[in-house]
């Protein structure tokens, strides 16, 4: 097993099982980053707390199913509402602050959520995470309802395609959410409501002077972003088949910012492309075989992504779909 220097294995192109995982995670990050695009790209509020919203969404859903015995399908909307309420609660005092202070508050809040989840063992399972519980001998998992839907989708797909990937149903649902998100957000962005958001991004005082209740708009922007965070939290929980505090570290938010920067600010479709690009770069580089040790290759993968981001900033600072004029004029 000594590969020639710098070779791709054929597996890089044929391993659909691997790539369906990459695409699913890319889709989940696209959902997260759609919220960031609304906040950062269109409202001018720098939200560093998306991972926290994902955690609140995921944990609320799992706790409602496992502890409160709620049905999975009721737990989803309930957890979305909880996450949106949480977002507004955080936003109400902090959105009055300047953008950089708001960023700090959101980052800190996300960490508070994660650390609370790590320590409230009775409710969240702490570092063991949450997945299944025994209810009088029967094993109940938070994703039971989803598994059965997923299986029936797979059963249907088998009519056309023998032995489909087990991940396929989740992949489809995630990217359907991304598509709906892009279409829906692009639509509202083009309305007078979206225009007020852009005005707030440009100059909040000017918007206030023209009779716009800017705090209300910023709260709405944050609440929608929290909703998308909650959805991404569900998807991540279903993808990993567990909810664990380590999956909601700030790095999740920063990867989503990477997606945003790659795709470009103020473009929703850029988010989808950016997410695929980032995760293809991150995961695809696994197949590059170099005559160095495994650990060095692992570290090198992140360096490659870093270099790609630096090159992008140097040659196309507005990202793939961002508008250069808006970036230059924005300041």
């Amino acid at each position: 097993m000594s590969p020639p220097p710098l070779a791709f294995t054929l597996e890089a192109f044929t391993n659909f099982g691997f790539w369906s995982g990459v695409l699913t995670i890319a889709g989940i990050y696209a959902v997260v980053a759609l919220g960031l695009q609304l906040n950062v790209g269109y409202t001018g509020i720098v939200n560093f707390g998306q991972a926290g919203f994902m955690a609140v969404g995921g944990y609320s859903m799992a706790i409602l199913v496992l502890e409160a015995g709620l049905s999975f399908w009721l737990a989803l909307p309930a957890a979305v509402l909880i996450t949106m309420a949480f977002g507004m609660l955080i936003g109400l005092p902090s959105l009055r602050l300047r953008a950089d202070y708001f960023a700090i508050v959101t980052l800190a809040t996300a960490e508070v959520v994660r650390l609370a989840a790590q320590n409230a063992r009775g409710l969240t399972g702490g570092n063991k995470g949450l997945y299944c519980e025994f209810d009088g001998g029967d094993q109940v998992c938070f994703d039971d309802a989803w598994r059965s839907v997923s299986d029936s989708i797979l059963g249907f797909v088998e009519n056309f395609w023998a032995d489909p990937e087990a991940l396929l149903p989740l992949l489809l649902v995630v990217w359907l959410t991304v598509a709906i998100g892009i279409v829906g957000l692009s639509f509202v962005q083009g309305t007078p409501w979206g225009r007020v958001l852009r005005a707030i991004r440009e100059d909040e005082d000017a918007a206030r002077a023209l009779g716009k209740n800017t705090l209300l708009y910023k709260l709405q922007s944050l609440a929608i972003s929290a909703m998308l965070g909650a959805l991404a939290g569900f998807f991540l929980a279903l993808f990993l088949a567990t909810i664990h505090p380590d999956d909601y570290e700030p790095i999740v938010t920063f990867f989503a910012f990477g997606v945003l920067i790659l795709g470009g600010l103020a473009s929703y479709k850029g988010v989808a492309i950016g997410a695929v690009l980032l995760w293809t770069l991150l995961e695809g580089t696994r197949f590059v075989e170099l005559p160095i040790s495994e650990e060095k290759t692992a570290a090198l993968r992140f360096a490659i992504v870093g270099v790609a981001l630096i090159l992008l900033m140097a040659f196309r600072p507005q990202g793939m779909f961002g508008k250069r004029e808006e970036m230059v004029l924005g300041d």
Partner: protein, 271 residues
């Protein structure tokens, strides 16, 4: 609307309690300093009133308190009969008292036309639930607003620039855009903070002509901060002089010019 009596350059009454805007005893302090220290005056409907005073007199701070951008410490501000002191800025703007800024706040990365349309009042599409459930009403209003915006841009010689980003306009054009945008909000009273600052005299004169015409044709009321005494003498029918946070004189331009306390204030004497 302007009445016959308030048209032209004739002075109108300014006794307290009868103006479109009545300011009484407004106080705003920052720590130990009282930037506005009991300012009282009235602005008559249909008038063009200038607010002058040496640097640091508290003119801009007073503007900020009147328009809700700063919370005043005390006093009373009545606009069109209602107490508006300490209302939030957006609520004051919606009542018809709209301000511009000393340093223009063009929304740079938005097209000029969107700057204009943003200011239009009564657009149901600015509420998220209407966007989803009353799209027809929203679109109809949007068409009206678009027409209005184009007309106003035409009037302000910005008609060809509607699709350009506001950030590409010159400083003078931005001042014109800011005034046109404020007019989109259908204000009863416009507060202009140094509308002439930093623009060339030709554009400045055009801006003043617009102000006179809007008062004449539409009965709009103006309160503006200005340093150029020539402009004040030629264009204002009433002048309010501030120094050290207080109103030290009020009257017609020629009266104010000859007032010894005003001369003292400008020359650094104690008022």
């Amino acid at each position: 609307m302007a009445t016959e009596a308030t048209r032209g350059s004739g002075p109108t009454q300014a006794s307290s309690g009868t103006g479109l805007l009545d300011v009484a005893g407004v106080v705003k302090g920052f720590g130990g300093i009282r930037a506005v220290d009991g300012a009282s005056f009235a602005v008559a409907e249909g008038s063009i009133t200038a607010l002058i005073g040496p640097n640091g007199a508290g003119k801009t701070t007073l503007f900020n308190v009147l328009t809700g951008f700063l919370r005043g410490d005390g006093g009373s501000v009545r606009f069109a009969g209602d107490e508006i002191f300490r209302l939030p800025a957006y609520a004051i703007a919606r009542r018809g008292m709209v301000r511009t800024f000393q340093i223009t706040k063009a929304l740079a990365a938005m097209p000029v036309i969107d700057n204009m349309k943003l200011a239009a009042p009564d657009q149901p599409g600015e509420r998220l639930h209407n966007v989803l459930f009353r799209a027809g009403v929203m679109r109809r209003r949007e068409r009206e607003v678009h027409e209005q915006a184009l007309e106003l841009l035409e009037v302000f010689d910005l008609g060809d620039l509607g699709d350009d980003y506001a950030g590409t306009l010159s400083g003078g054009q931005r001042k014109l855009l800011e005034l046109a945008r404020a007019l989109m909000a259908q204000p009863k009273l416009l507060l202009l903070d140094e509308p002439m600052a930093g623009i060339n005299p030709t554009l400045g004169r055009r801006l003043l002509d617009h102000m006179q015409r809007l008062r004449r044709e539409q009965g709009r009321t103006f309160l503006f901060i200005e340093h150029d005494m020539e402009v004040v003498m030629d264009h204002a029918d009433r002048v309010i002089v501030m120094a050290e946070g207080r109103v030290i004189a009020e009257g017609e331009p020629h009266q104010v010019r000859e007032d010894p306390t005003v001369v003292d204030a400008y020359l650094g004497g104690t008022a």
